[in-house]
């Protein structure tokens, strides 16, 4: 199996133009971010005109309470929604992938992924009317609920596909060796599933962090997130202050993602049975 995957990797890499194509994709993905970071050090007030190097926008952003408040909201929402959505998505993936087969499993699968197909604005308006129907006042809680819901499919997909490629016999073997269902899950299924869960969580985190439409609709008093804040500054003119705070946020997310990667790696090494 390992030999097979190495062979297919090699054949893909040796494909003519692979390097150029990959480089192009990476450039398209990362150039906007590089521009964003560069202009956060702009001495000029305009976001598009370079006027020399300066830290002034970081200083300004550090004293702008509205901006910080929004950034803080963004992080809070993203962290809580990611945790909840990943927990729910993991349960759903296990139920559909490992549990007993049940009627309507296909329909369930489609239902979980439906939010991916629907235009965001429809979900936004629907969520808002839903909260209105319940008579809930909009707040940070409503934002977290909405984010959790639309993050579920994003974390469900990688977890589910990881689960499908996992060898079922390992769990069966564990139980044959008198592991209880819980211990088999804890020491076999969970560590093997961890990469899927991590990538699901990262996807959910990123999606939550940069959502605008749904958040703008369901955010209540004191619950505006960074994308909402940035968008509403447009009419007054965007300054590199926005770039500065975005750069900080980018650094925080990179740190978080890196940290979770290393934690998962360390954790999986720790809990892996000695035999492997």
């Amino acid at each position: 199996m390992a030999a097979q995957s190495t062979r297919s990797m090699r054949s893909l890499v040796s494909f003519r133009g692979f390097g150029a194509m990959a480089a192009l994709c990476l450039i398209i993905l990362y150039v906007p971010m590089a521009v964003l970071v560069t202009f956060s050090f702009n001495a000029n007030r305009a976001v598009t005109v370079w006027g020399g190097f300066s830290f002034q926008w970081y200083v300004k952003a550090a004293s702008n309470s509205g901006l910080q408040y929004a950034a803080w909201n963004s992080l809070t929402v993203a962290l809580i929604a990611t945790t909840l959505a990943t927990a729910i998505a993991t349960s759903a993936a296990l139920a559909t992938g490992r549990g007993q087969r049940f009627r309507g499993a296909q329909a369930f699968y489609a239902l979980v992924n439906l939010p991916l197909m629907l235009p965001e604005i429809i979900i936004a308006v629907g969520t808002l009317s839903f909260f209105a129907l319940l008579g809930m006042t909009l707040s940070l809680t409503t934002v977290i609920i909405a984010h959790t819901v639309f993050c579920i499919p994003f974390s469900y997909l990688p977890i589910r596909s990881r689960l499908e490629t996992m060898d079922r016999r390992l769990e069966e073997a564990a139980m044959d060796l008198y592991a209880t269902q819980w211990r088999a899950f804890r020491h076999v299924t969970m560590p093997l599933l961890m990469p899927g869960i991590m990538s699901g969580a990262m996807l959910a985190f990123v999606v939550s962090l940069d959502d605008f439409i749904i958040t703008a609709m369901v955010a209540g008093a004191g619950a505006g997130t960074l994308p909402v804040y940035v968008y509403t500054q447009l009419k007054q003119g965007v300054t590199p202050e926005i770039n500065a705070i975005s750069t900080v946020l980018l650094a925080v997310s990179i740190l978080l993602v890196a940290a979770s990667y290393f934690v998962a790696k360390a954790g999986s090494r720790y809990s892996r049975p000695a035999a492997s």
Partner: protein, 344 residues
């Protein structure tokens, strides 16, 4: 095993929900345009009344309307523009708090009492008001600047150096005034004239953006359609800019403070309204935004450099600025079509 995981999820959700606390006593939630309130004034209000103020922002009157219509926003105050106040009253989204009975109402400048959007001020008090015209570099263009011709049929030195606001009404109203046609116009022949004017203008426009101030002050453009407060701030950074008061006419607007229906902190909202009509506090708003307030007696607290500037209020001899009520739906549709064609 999957049950354990779902119980874990539910437990987390429960923890999260219970940890969300309700509003503390003495709070006030303001829904406002971005970057449009004096921090200094907010701090003073918080200290005077021991009230915690939170501020959320929107980007347009229409976004705010959509949100308020849900009826569950939890905001106390909002800052709609003139025409939007009229719509909010019609939609029954505002509390009739009778600001005209407040202690500081006596400070209101008389011309702002009987405005078309709220006759007698039963719902709203002025936030700030201003005008929409354009600012132009006098180093680049030496002639008389008080005409819309500079913006709509630009001379050679300004061609390709123009930023227009990405705003359908501001641009079309300027075109209608320039051609001497009535506003809120649905006459096909008149709109044809506007369309021709804009089609000819299109190649000379560098950008359509709200960042007029940044573009003009950084020298990206030499003529920018702009609000007077922003024009003032732009000139501080680039002294050769001059704000025009076109002889063909220009737009006036006023944003207003209103209390939202069902506001959780209605008493604090009323306190804030009254607070804003105090001359010293109104002056803080003016000094922060660069726009005039509607409170008499505030002039002595306004930064003299701002108060004496050409942008602050129309000079003697300039035509009166004109408030533009919202047009009927057919006109809005026609304008939108014209605008989409123009931007295409």
């Amino acid at each position: 095993m999957n049950r354990t995981a779902s119980i874990l999820g539910l437990g987390l959700a429960a923890c999260m929900l219970t940890s969300m606390h309700a509003y503390a006593e003495g709070s006030l939630a303001i829904f406002n345009w971005g970057d449009y309130i004096s921090d200094e004034m907010v701090k003073k209000f918080e200290q005077t009344y021991d009230v915690k103020v939170t501020i959320d922002t929107y980007d347009s009157n229409e976004t705010m309307l959509a949100k308020l219509k849900s009826g569950i926003t939890g905001y106390d105050l909002a800052v709609p523009s003139d025409y939007m106040v009229e719509i909010l009253i019609k939609e029954d989204l505002l509390e009739r708090v009778e600001p005209n009975t407040f202690e500081n109402y006596k400070n209101l400048e008389p011309q702002w009492a009987d405005v078309y959007w709220d006759k007698g001020r039963h719902y709203s008090v002025p936030w700030v008001w201003g005008t929409t015209s354009f600012t132009v570099s006098t180093d680049v263009y030496k002639g008389d600047i008080d005409t819309l011709a500079l913006m709509l049929e630009p001379p050679d030195e300004l061609k390709g150096r123009i930023n227009l606001l990405r705003d359908v009404n501001e641009v079309i109203n300027a075109a209608l005034r320039y051609r001497g046609l009535p506003l809120c116009n649905e006459n096909p022949a008149d709109l044809k004239q506007v369309q021709d004017l804009l089609t000819n203008l299109k190649p000379y426009v560098k950008s359509f953006a709200y960042e007029s101030k940044e573009l003009a002050s950084s020298g990206e453009v030499d003529l920018a359609q702009i609000w007077n407060g922003k024009a003032y701030l732009a000139r501080l950074e680039r002294p050769d800019l001059r704000y025009a008061y076109p002889k063909e006419g220009y737009t006036a607007w006023m944003d207003n403070l209103v209390v939202i229906k069902g506001a959780p902190n209605i008493e604090n909202a009323k306190l804030f309204m009254n607070f804003l009509m105090d001359p010293e506090n109104a002056a803080m708003m003016t000094n922060f935004t660069g726009y005039a307030n509607g409170v008499s007696g505030s002039a002595q607290y306004v930064d003299p450099k701002l108060a004496g500037s050409r942008e602050y209020r129309p000079p003697e001899g300039a035509p009166d600025p004109e408030f533009v009520p919202v047009c009927n739906e057919r006109v809005i549709r026609l304008y939108d079509r014209l605008w989409t064609n123009f931007l295409k």
